[in-house]
């Protein structure tokens, strides 16, 4: 499987080289994706950002991308290729590209790198991420109101802080309207396997959940919800077309404003290494229209979004009670970002063990 992916990436690389013969006075902005741009999820949304950059700057910018790049040594080769090809700013969009990005950045001090969702920076390496947990909190509130069984099924990929943060935020949101809310968690060990995601959704519905939440990338779980007359939330992209009667809202990634601002900085010669973690306020996390909900739930959700934007509401406001009963955070204050980024515990009320 691994070999095959490498070969695919090599193929993608070969294609990339073919397209790399344009005017030299244009700024070359490049992207590296871990998935196919046709995933209608995570990589798709990043590519929408790339297209937005093309549209915004027109002739001034030339963009390029490599898709399906495997995390690991292959990524290093892919990123280096782009740097050699004359890319001036390179966005590496997956957590697993972190070390490769840092390594290549050392070899090309004049090229600017931007790594998504990581924490290692350098003079020419900036990092950026989105506060997806903000959207998940509001989803939790909606689920707390909408679920008849008081149980949501939650399909997840890998136990990394990003994902755990999402589960906790969802649960805190749900508990804020229904203190006895329950979630059932299934790890499918993949970001992207529609079949498995659909299977997990079917099993969870069979076990009494009536709302499905996912931290995996395909539209399959929502389709199952639609099929069985249950409810669910979209992930990364607005998936309403796949589940017009089931989607309550979707937690969408919007990288467009960030990419435009960073490419603009590069064009103006004022690019600096930075760490950006934007949420609803910055427009990086956007909840798609609230559908299939009664007016009062819609109003509640809209109010919460407004409060999160204004800073009045922070999903992780202390004290937060962990599963074992201990608490973190000061009363009335939000947890500091470093603590969120290293989150390795479930909050109280989640009736499951966190995989190590």
């Amino acid at each position: 499987m691994n070999k095959m992916m490498m070969a695919t990436a090599a193929f993608a690389l070969a294609l990339g080289i073919g397209a790399a013969s344009a005017a030299a006075d244009k700024l070359k902005a490049c992207w590296v994706y871990t998935g196919p741009i046709g995933d209608f999820g995570y990589s798709f949304q990043h590519d929408q950002g790339r297209k937005a950059v093309e549209k915004e700057f027109g002739d001034k910018v030339e963009t390029k991308y490599l898709e399906n790049v495997a995390e690991g040594p292959d990524a290093e080769r892919a990123i280096e290729r782009l740097a050699r090809d004359g890319c001036k700013i390179i966005f590496t969009t997956s957590f697993g590209f972190m070390d490769a990005t840092i390594k290549v950045a050392k070899k090309f001090p004049k090229v600017h790198f931007e790594h998504a969702t990581g924490y290692k920076r350098a003079k020419n390496v900036a990092t950026y991420n989105a506060r997806f947990y903000e959207g998940r909190y509001v989803m939790g509130e909606i689920a707390g109101k909408m679920s008849k069984t008081g149980t949501a099924g939650y399909i997840v990929s890998f136990p990394i802080p990003e994902v755990i943060m999402g589960i906790n935020s969802f649960m805190l949101g749900a508990q804020s309207v229904n203190p006895n809310f329950k979630i059932k968690i299934v790890w499918v060990n993949s970001w992207y396997d529609p079949g498995k995601e659909a299977d997990a959704a079917k099993v969870l519905f069979g076990q009494g959940a009536d709302i499905i939440v996912q931290h995996t990338d395909s539209t399959a779980p929502l389709q199952v919800a639609q099929d069985q007359g249950k409810l669910g939330f979209g992930q990364s992209s607005d998936m309403i077309k796949f589940a017009p009667k089931a989607q309550l809202t979707a937690n969408t990634d919007n990288w467009n404003p960030y990419y435009i601002s960073r490419v603009k900085a590069e064009l103006d010669g004022v690019w600096k290494s930075d760490d950006t973690w934007g949420g609803m306020k910055e427009g990086m996390v956007v909840l798609s229209p609230f559908t299939n909900v009664p007016d009062d739930v819609k109003k509640m959700a809209e109010d919460s979004v407004a409060k999160i934007k204004s800073g009045e509401l922070h999903p992780f406001t202390g004290p937060i009670t962990k599963q074992d009963g201990s608490t973190v955070g000061e009363a009335g204050k939000s947890l500091p970002d470093e603590e969120l980024l290293g989150m390795a515990y479930y909050v109280k009320g989640i009736d499951d063990k966190l995989p190590q």
């Binding site: 695919t8 209608f40 399906n68 059932k184 790890w187 079917k202 099993v203 539209t219």
Partner: protein, 306 residues
Amino acid sequence: MSELLAIVLTIITASTPLLLAAIGELVVERSGVLNLGVEGMMAIGAVCGFGAALASGSPYLGILAAMAAGAALSLLFAFLTVTLVSNQVATGLALTLLGLGLSGLIGESFVGQPGVKLERLHIPGLSDIPYLGPILFGQDLLVYAALAITAAVAYLLFRSKLGLVIRAVGDSHQSAHALGYGVIPVRYACVVFGGTCAGLAGGYLSLAYTPQWIENMTAGRGWIALALVVFGSWLPWRVALGAYLFGTVMILGFAVQTKGLGIPPQFLSSLPYLVTIIALVVISGNRALTRANTPACLGQPFVPDR
């Protein structure tokens, strides 16, 4: 719907594409050809099936298109490996890459479009019997087709003259050739049959399992099918057992996770592979029988002497 019923129904849909792809590959390998391109043919089947169903509105036309697409790609493989006698392993891997890449290209405009779903059958009366009804009489057509194909392959391979010829070609192509059987036409037919089944398996993914198209949606199922053929020692019903066992353990793994037992999910994810391999190896304990069932000419090139 009760929990158990949901689990059983999910197991059936999860196992069917594996069985469809594996039973086709079994016939290919019985004729002495190793086609590692199952994953690529599945992907092409999935995208073409999806596209045809979307354009025509009929999932059944989608199924036909999926089969035709898998067959077309396998015909290319047959031409390269059987006629031009290229290396089967390398050509098979290339076929996988080609299939995955080409399917992404064809499917670019299908991304983000809901597909046409192949509905489950509903036989009034029978499908409404509690529990047994939905399981036995309420599946989609391809679930029954997969089992019917398995039965047909089991019968034809071991109870008919045609099967005897196929196995002869796979076990000793020189002897079969000397006896006057057309090794090349037999292999062509078997490879195309395998491609048709792989295409059908892909179509099952994009029409019945998860009615949508996204790149790489086969997610390695072609490779699992290939492994099932070997571990099922090239016997149709064993391969079917392996496919269903794999699906069962995978789905049970999901069901167990929510019970809060603290079993690491990484372990549960690897369990289907472990259990299926161990079970099939144990069943195949009789070494002489296993050796007898292994096509002796598997992967070997055949050039007729002149």
